[in-house]
Symmetry: C2
């Protein structure tokens, strides 16, 4: 950030009065420009014994497999964001079952929220963001071609939880930093 | 937003190629300025049979009671944000027990995440943001002087859950819009 989005003058990085962190502050109009983490919302769609993954058609991680997820928009709920992203990226209509993973990804200032979801019909497709969408059984998961550690986490949790005698799919709550991208804080 | 924070030129509101929503776009350098919901993280601190509330020393809702909570910062986890806000606003050191409420507040573009927390010692205080901090038993809660519907929701859930024979304090998951600020989506 170089310029004030309110008045167009130069901003400088300093600690405003009453604050304890450096912010981009406009010396002309006084606006303080806060920067905060963004939410990525998405789904882990389940159809029978299979899960739905998308092959990314965009950077980063072009060509690798991921769960349908993307940035939450203003004016929507986390649930609406997860449903929208699943429809946009995988062309799939799912029914949300529960909030399943919440991961703070410290080095990119994101909080990722993945919902466990049911995919009632095997209807899905590709999109501008997705080269290919397909269902995978557990032994078909391309573990070495997954786009993000958070996706690997979610899938590992899912298959482990599903193997329980009475699966409850508890909320998985993580804080991830470089080199510690699979750290479990609360299960 | 009037000016590009990258180059300082005027921005216009339009739908970028490949997108389906209006964004602030710079016609000079091409930067697209996304605006996304922010996370508010905080705690419901429990000490014995009492809970800790803070009387706000800042607008909005100056003088009304709230739980310690505030905007999550870049570079921290949701847990760290909840602990930091509780220390800053209530001067209280708590131990997080579990993520308890997740509320999308549509009209202000916020997602509020409140943790159930234990306050081992009755040590707390006021701050720049808090006129007074004190412990309340259930029959002392100032229901008509609470700052936000989300705070009322969290306290109502807590006392209802605590009254169960075997309290499990399940995650409470809400989407709130004007006139529907206490709508339960998932319990």
């Amino acid at each position: 950030m170089n310029f004030c989005s309110q008045c167009g003058h130069k901003v400088s990085l300093r600690i405003p009065a009453g604050d304890n962190r450096e912010r981009h502050v406009c010396d002309h109009c006084g606006s303080i420009h806060y920067q905060n983490p963004r939410i990525v919302a998405g789904c882990l769609p389940v159809h029978g014994h299979q899960v739905l993954l998308c092959k990314r058609a965009i950077e980063p991680r072009y060509g690798l497999w991921t769960l349908p997820a993307g940035f939450m928009e203003n004016g929507e709920s986390t649930e609406e964001a997860a449903l929208r992203e699943t429809l946009e990226e995988a062309r799939a209509e799912v029914v949300l079952r529960k909030l399943y993973t919440v991961s703070s990804i410290l080095h990119v200032n994101q909080v990722q929220m993945i919902y466990l979801a049911d995919l009632p019909e095997a209807h899905f497709g590709s999109s501008e963001e997705t080269l290919e969408t397909r269902l995978f059984s557990e032994d078909e998961i391309p573990w070495d071609e997954l786009a993000f550690p958070t996706i690997r986490n979610a899938l590992r949790f899912f298959f482990a939880d599903r193997a329980e005698t009475s699966p409850s799919f508890p909320l998985r709550h993580l804080a991830l930093s470089p080199g510690h991208e699979e750290l479990l804080l609360e299960s």
